[in-house]
Amino acid sequence: MAAVQDGGSELEGEKEPKPELMNDGSTAPAAAPSSRPEDQQTLLAVLQFLKRNKLIESVDALRREAGLADEPEEAPGSEAAGGAGGAAAGSGELGDAGALLSRVSGGSQSAAAPAPAKGGDDQPDVSVVLSAYSQQGDPSLYQVYYSGLKKFIESVLDCHRAELSQLFYPLFVHMYLELVYNNHESEAKSFFEKFNGDQECYYQDDLRVLSGLTKKEHMKGNETLLDFRTSRFVLRISRDSYQLLKRHLQERQNNQIWNIIQEHLYIDIFDGMPRSKSQIDSMSGSLAGEAKREDNKTKVYYGLLKEPEIEVPLDDEDEEAENEEGKPKKKKPKKDSMGSKSKKQDPNAPQQNRIPLPELKDSDKLDKIMYMKEATKRIRLGPESLPSICFYTFLNAYQGLTAVDFTDDSSLLAGGFADSTVRVWSVTPKKLRKVKSAADLGMIDKESDDVLERIMDEKTASECKILYGHSGPVYGVSFSPDRNYLLSSSEDGTIRLWSLQTFTCLVAYKGHNYPVWDTQFSPYGYYFVSGGHDRVARLWATDHYQPLRMFAGHLADITCTRFHPNSNYVATGSADRTIRLWDVLNGHCVRVLTGHKGPIHSLAFSPNGKYLASGSTDGRVLLWDIGHGLMIGELKGHTDTIYALRFSRDGEILASGSMDNTVRLWDAIRAFDDVETDDFTAATGHVHLPDNSQELLLGTYLSKSTPVIHLHFTRRNLLLSAGAYNSQ
């Protein structure tokens, strides 16, 4: 599935470089093109169904209609899909839908002729994918092959050994799967037991999945394996090492291994010095090997957008506001300097209208002014002046707190709970009030100055409001920047948009059929992104009930989603241990970042948009340079999953919060400086990480028994953290 969708989205990208989204900010029917490959699939499925049920007339009718309609687009589409599916049995020539159908349903027979017949196969993709394992070798010789290769790799020079050792894991997996697929159960078991101890410790989770799988039947439903098969495992090996390996395999005529390397692995050969073990280790660990170098070649406009033109109204209103405060002159020069700064166009910034953004409303402008004012009172942080931390502890949550978010101005706090509720608290003295009912609103004098105040129902004022609507644990919550809306994503597969005026649910976005792990509003509002168990991240606009973009490519659950500060990109972290950066404009994946050794549970962009920090279950924080697509730092210290990451408002401090009940502060400036002074050999992509976590760690703050699941810097750089008290 994933492969086909991947192909589809690329196709869409080629065909529609400028979606309609560009022309009109308010409406964006870009969902139509994106759904086209899906339509094809649906069509095929329907045809198949009809055929199976002997409804030949209907088949003909549908084929006639669909075939005519789809013909011009089908060839490239199927090619892409076929290519990705690994069964390119001449699909290019197939013209009509019937042929397409036969490719899919009959593909298994033609392409996998030597394979034993598979009866009742209603998962065309899977069978195609798996058929690649059908080659017959002597199952008893697998162990000999593998240990022969092992011996060879252990005997080569040290500099090559580390590189060639990368082969062990993918070869091990594929050989094991071949054995299982060909029903050599006992051989597979002994093969596994003999060699699984050799694998790197960070593959242990996958090995556990693998070990449970001992029968061919099991392979059908197993998504992890499907992913492993559909995506070629990527290895980066220097030319010298590769030659060495090739020579060895040819000498020994070790065709079995050579076939696997040819078919299932993607070896990215580079010229130059072989990499060291530590360099390899820092990059490996993902489900599908390292990222290909060309994956990260696309230019990313990581600069910030120019501040919207609110200077003029700002000055006016600001002066008014300042006059009220009675100190107008003091702040003016500052404001000017800020204004001039933002006027300069960042060369790395995207076009202002690359993504249509919602127009600023008056209330947004007011908020911007508030933000500016607060910003002038902001404390400059640094190693010498660490932020104060305020911890919001949820009591009596009975381990049910699953997600937390603060508004940007830190006035509201939302918590998602395992009992399907979303609760909103006001953390300022200002209480939460509902808007009056429609009947009461009619009686209000609309001309009065304090109309906004009058529409609120004073009787409903309370510190906390509970939002009911989900039917499963709420795993993600996000406030809109204007504080009018709240998003929540849940196990029930929906994302709900709540109004913070009426405290009711406005929309339930259905698209993910599986749990939605995370959702986030764009920093400019209107758009939001979501990702979940179905491994597809979706971009939505609040006024569309269909997603605008689907970002497919991850091989496992998408566990967290973040918008880039300029709203042009979306980063997703996944359980396949990769981070991907997607272009909102065309849905392309522009960066694949590998190096984590466990599912990624938190992401944070630096305020200048240049860097990304990510935290995972292995307790490490990795820092990435988005422009070059390189890992530039590793922060070790946490002992458990990192659920929260946040840069301070000026980007000097990185705060990380973890399941191990600590908040840690890191010197972000130094972490980035240290790297930039290095010789930045971006071309090779070889990272060499300084091991300076301890020097960068500025402070560790322990809570008694409260895991930290959210962090937020206020506009004045006070650090807010939140978590539920765990009584056990």
Partner: protein
Amino acid sequence: MAEERRQKQCSVVLPSESMKAMAESMGVGQLQEDSCVALSEEVSYRIKEIAQDALKFMHHGKRRKLTTSDIDYPLKLKNVEPLYGFQSQDFIPFRFASGGGRELHFYEEKEVDLSDIISTPLPRVPLDVSLKATKEQQKAESTEPLKAVKPGQEEDGSIQGKGQSGTSAEVKGKEKLRMKPRSTHELSVEQQLYYKEITEACVGSCEAKRAEALQSIATDPGLYQMLPRFSTFISEGVRVNVVQNNLALLIYLMRMMKALMDNPTLYLEKYLHELLPAVVTCIVSKQLCLRPDVDNHWALRDFAARLMAQSCKTFSTTTNNIQSRITKTFTKSWLDDRTQWTTRYGCIAGLSELGPDVIKTLIIPRLTVEGVRIKAVMEGLVVSNIDKIGADHVQSLLLKHCASVIAKIRPAPDVVDQYRTDYGYLGPMLCSHVVKARTQAALQAQTVNRTTLTITQPRPSLSVSQSGGVGSSGGSRTPSIIKVPSSLTLMSTRPATPTQPSPPATKYIVMATSAGAASTQQVITLSSSQSSSPVTSTVTSVSTPLQPLVKLESGGGAGSRPMQKYIVVSLPSSSSSSSSLEHKGGATATSPIAIETTVKSERSESPATHTHSPH
């Protein structure tokens, strides 16, 4: 090793017997072995798959513990109906059982009686989620209104601090403890006046007033409300006056303490933590007066030591171990070579007062060492006067206490040389003291030639009526240490309930039986007020005269005042039976003339003779 273990974990498959058992539970009788194997592999794989997905849900639930709902959601993902109604927030313990070569893990499900559940009141509604803010750290120059805490300091976290809203889990925990509310015992104006007068009189200069005040403390029944204040007064007073070496005040305070102890309505155990340190200070302090060479601080030490011994006797229990703790304290400082003579004296005095057993086990073995020390001071050349006086006092103290004990434990012929070899420097002096003690004991036995029973009730004025008319009442006297022959100490003369305002009428029946002759019986009724007709029990002549009889009878149904009867039967020493009277002291036991025993109740005129002589 780890790898091996991992392999094992990975390749675990459910045994086919489980499949059979499950099939049977579903009503499928005969399941073929092949099917079982196939099924178990399939089931194992599915279970692993679900477990892996469940972990995913646990991670996203931000928990460390897998719950039952984490299993339900993966089932839902796979379009399998979840296990409804199997909810538990808690850890579900699996029991392990083995037997017949089979190992079994099972979930213990208790049978629940529904009627119990229905009849029990509903549990409290769980508290709602609430939010609480805690400040962790603060920078000095911040404009935020938070209080400063140094960076690096650990967050005092979620436990402390007050909940912003609602009740917190911690608060709930506190509620469970249910701290007793602190009540302040306000003194009435009269009590305040009384307290002021009493304390002033106790430490004032007028001796007559002091005697009156002490008498009041020792006898007044309504002082328990002021007891904490008296206790603090004494302990604080000692603390201050020790520093100022104010001997007089220390003595006054000790006397006050003594008076408190003598008051039968007060029970000091709750205040011992304040009082005992003060007493110990008065025993062992290096300096208690301004002029150590002149002032008689030794008397204070003696007095305090006696006080300590009394409180040990009264309050030492197996839980507070006062006596052993005190003994240890004294011994420790005594054994220290650097201890000064004053403290040394205090330690020895404190130990000696604890009884002959303590002297025997702790002091006598050290006589030689102590003798060497005293000799060094006495015969040394350059010694300060103070040291000399100290050594002298220690010497006489040791002689005084040890002589009587040695007299009892050593056989009669007292040879000076033997004493010298046994006890060193102090030997000769000890010898003469022992000889003196022996003769005195013999003399006493001869001259007194009757058993002397001294009964001192702590409070009430006793009216002793006796046929012989040898009665004297000493109610007006300040009560002193209870001097009761050891055979009677078991029957404490203190009322059993100290809070009882008036003492019970006590009745002593003392019966003396002369060998072969008709018994004479004397019934002594001691009672401060006549509540009911005293039950006079007359013991008829004992059939076997050699039978010792000590009987305690309590008077029946005398209203609120229980009546105690002490029946003391004294037998002539010629009887071979070892009666309790043996304890009355060596003098009586060895006396051949004690055939006709008369009982004489008298107020002790010279306590010293009575406290020491029976032993």
